[in-house]
């Protein structure tokens, strides 16, 4: 177990090093420093100003130095200053972390809960009209672009019904819920269709197993079978899917934050795109991959907790 974990961590670390190499190739070898400077300073910037900017942001170092510095700084979380406005990136990321987590964790947890409940319900009524209607609803739901969920949610709930404010953010605990309710609702609604459909397939597959027949023969009720037997045995594919969906969560929070005016890492990313701020973008991509790799390792460990038959070796 321990040696497996160690090997897994080493491989994960190697993957992160690979990501950094890819970022180096894209940002330092492929992109021209002069081009980055012109994008930051404007097309008509004087050549001296561009040379000065390149020197200030350290793009003029020789390639091996650049590579080493890139690795050293990223791995020590020293992200330097923004290419757009020279503000310290690490500080801005740290400030954005709170609002981002406040949005993302509820979307993740509630989304998982909603999709699982819906899928259990539909799978319970498998091969009936309720099942077919549920699946059709899921396919309809996953065919709608997330943009439409955002615009529609904001228009319907924010503007027509006036339940929640249209956008904005206030970290004080008394009102933070009012600002987060709408984005969380939209985020959950956007993901529930495809998730519920996938979970339903897993549940239906599990319901055809022998142990379900045995449980029924013992006199176990249908609802009890679904929750106590089928759900438990389906946890591994469920968990895998939930972790594999973490990158989709990134899509969600980048769009949701920028549209609902939540000052988190997603808004920072959108600002970086609009301001051609490569340094901030590098930091966000690095952190995103790091988180994802860690989450994958944690899932492997969680498998053993969920299913004692799984041996890590």
């Amino acid at each position: 177990m321990l040696s497996y974990l160690l090997r897994r961590l080493v491989y994960g670390f190697a993957t992160v090093l690979g990501v950094l190499l890819l970022l180096y190739v894209l940002f330092f070898l492929y992109a021209e420093p002069g081009d980055i400077a012109r994008r930051a300073l404007g097309e008509k910037a004087a050549p001296e100003a561009i040379a000065q900017w390149i020197r200030n942001h350290g793009y003029d170092r020789p390639a091996p130095r650049l590579l080493l510095d890139h690795y050293r700084r990223m791995l020590t979380f020293d992200f330097g200053r923004s290419d757009a406005d020279d503000s310290p990136i690490a500080l801005r990321l740290r400030r954005g972390l709170g609002p981002t987590l406040a949005l993302t964790l509820p979307v993740f947890a509630l989304g998982l809960l909603a999709a699982t409940t819906l899928a259990l319900f539909v799978a319970y009524f498998r091969d009936t009209y309720i099942d077919r209607a549920g699946v059709a609803l899921c396919v309809l739901g996953m065919s709608v672009s997330i943009l439409l969920y955002i615009i529609g949610g904001q228009f319907l709930i924010g503007k027509v019904l006036r339940w929640f404010p249209i956008s904005g953010f206030d970290p004080s605990p008394a009102v933070v819920l009012r600002f987060l309710a709408l984005p969380v609702l939209v985020g959950v609604a956007a993901g529930v269709g495809s998730d519920a459909r996938f979970y339903r397939t897993v549940f239906v597959e599990e319901s055809n197993r022998d142990y379900v027949r045995t449980a029924r023969a013992k006199g176990c009720g249908d609802a009890r079978i679904m929750v106590r037997h089928v759900l438990r045995n389906a946890l591994i594919p469920l968990l895998t899917r939930a972790v594999m969906a973490i990158p989709l969560l990134f899509t969600g929070f980048i769009l949701l934050e920028s549209f609902f005016g939540i000052p988190g890492i997603g808004s920072l990313t959108v600002d970086a795109i609009q301001g051609n701020d490569f340094a901030t973008l590098r930091a966000v991509v690095f952190l995103g991959s790091l988180l994802f790799v860690l989450a994958q390792i944690l899932t492997d460990v969680a498998y053993t907790l969920v299913d004692p038959r799984v041996r890590l070796s």
Partner: protein, 342 residues
């Protein structure tokens, strides 16, 4: 304008290639039966897809001059106009917003040049919304088609060679795939588009780079299984070369996976482009861009809804049709689900 011309070439070439591939597959009885089964189950969705393809094709055939191509404006006279553009009257535009079928401008009420003729109204610049929406079909097919053309051959090359030859190559490929897969896809997409620059081909390359990995994994796994099959062993004993085995025995047995993934990939790509358009990194003229431009219109008083409604209805119906066709294709072609059904 140059880019426009060869983008048209790409779209026309794609459609021709697809027709050729379909024709070749038809000569095989199994494929013909699968096609019949698909038509029986998903007639409506297939018709919707065909309609979009037809519109895109009409919009890809363009030439300069002919007809009344736009009054005194010399620039307009030298601009190639597609078959689709020629369906609409020349100079078919107003000065600003007008509601569907309205006779006057939406704000102010000045009389229109073409009263009652804009079926879906006009946008802020006075362009006909129906025309813009139909033109989006070509962009959507370009996104799905060109990207698949990049991603699928790449996935086949990498996945099959890693699975078949194994060893060091497999280790290297596996590492490369885990590196690419560990970057959240939207972040990788944004990075690639930012570094490569904005433009239709760059966006398709970026989408291709982010989407081949998942497919290559499936192909690698399937090739590992096929490599151990008896008929492959037999061919090897008979002295067939490695490349010959891959070409004659491995690739034909992967065709169904390619078809399934092509259809399922398509809708995901078009949706991903819509997200990019929202971030200002999309392709000009796509439905995503129309939605992006229309996002503030719902905040106006009175509400301007037709722009958003037209673009999102088009996007939704194409995606829904592709999702439905994709599900049916998977059910029909995948032996695993086929066995479950019977």
């Amino acid at each position: 304008m140059e880019a426009q011309v060869w983008v048209n070439g790409i779209v026309a070439g794609l459609l021709l290639g697809l027709a050729l591939a379909a024709f070749r597959l038809r000569s095989n009885r199994l494929w013909r039966d699968a096609g019949r089964e698909l038509w029986r189950r998903r007639r409506l969705a297939l018709l919707v897809v065909t309609a979009f393809v037809a519109v895109a094709l009409c919009d890809s055939i363009a030439w300069v001059g002919g007809g009344d191509s736009g009054g005194d404006d010399t620039l307009a006279r030298h601009r190639p106009r597609s078959l689709l553009d020629r369906v609409f009257p020349a100079e078919f535009r107003e000065r600003s917003y007008s509601a569907p079928l309205a006779g006057v401008e939406f704000y102010g009420g000045a009389p229109l040049d073409h009263p009652g003729m804009h079926l879906l109204g006009t946008d802020i610049l006075g362009r006909d919304v129906l025309h813009l929406t139909l033109r989006g079909a070509r962009v959507a097919l370009l996104i799905g088609g060109l990207t698949s053309l990049i991603a699928i051959p790449l996935a086949l090359l990498v996945g099959v060679s890693a699975g078949y030859f194994g060893g060091r190559l497999d280790d290297a490929v596996f590492f490369l795939m885990s590196v690419l897969a560990s970057i959240p896809s939207l972040l990788l997409l944004i990075t690639l588009v930012m570094v490569l620059g904005r433009g239709p081909v760059q966006v398709c390359i970026a989408l291709g780079v982010t989407s081949w990995v998942a497919f290559a994994r499936v192909l690698r796994g399937e090739t590992l299984k096929l490599r151990e099959q008896d008929y492959v062993q037999a061919a090897r004993t008979l002295g067939v070369s490695e490349l010959g085995i891959v070409w004659r025995h491995i690739l034909p047995n992967l065709t169904h996976l390619v078809v399934i993934h092509f259809v399922l990939l398509f809708s995901g790509l078009v949706l991903a482009e819509a997200v990019l358009a929202w971030l200002g990194l999309g392709i000009d003229g796509s439905w995503g861009q129309m939605i992006d431009q229309a996002r503030d219109e719902l905040a106006r008083e009175p509400v301007v809804w037709w722009n958003l409604a037209a673009a999102s209805a088009a996007l939704f119906s194409l995606i829904l049709a592709f999702n439905l066709v994709g599900d049916a294709v998977r059910d029909i072609l995948d032996p695993r689900t086929a066995a479950e059904r019977s």
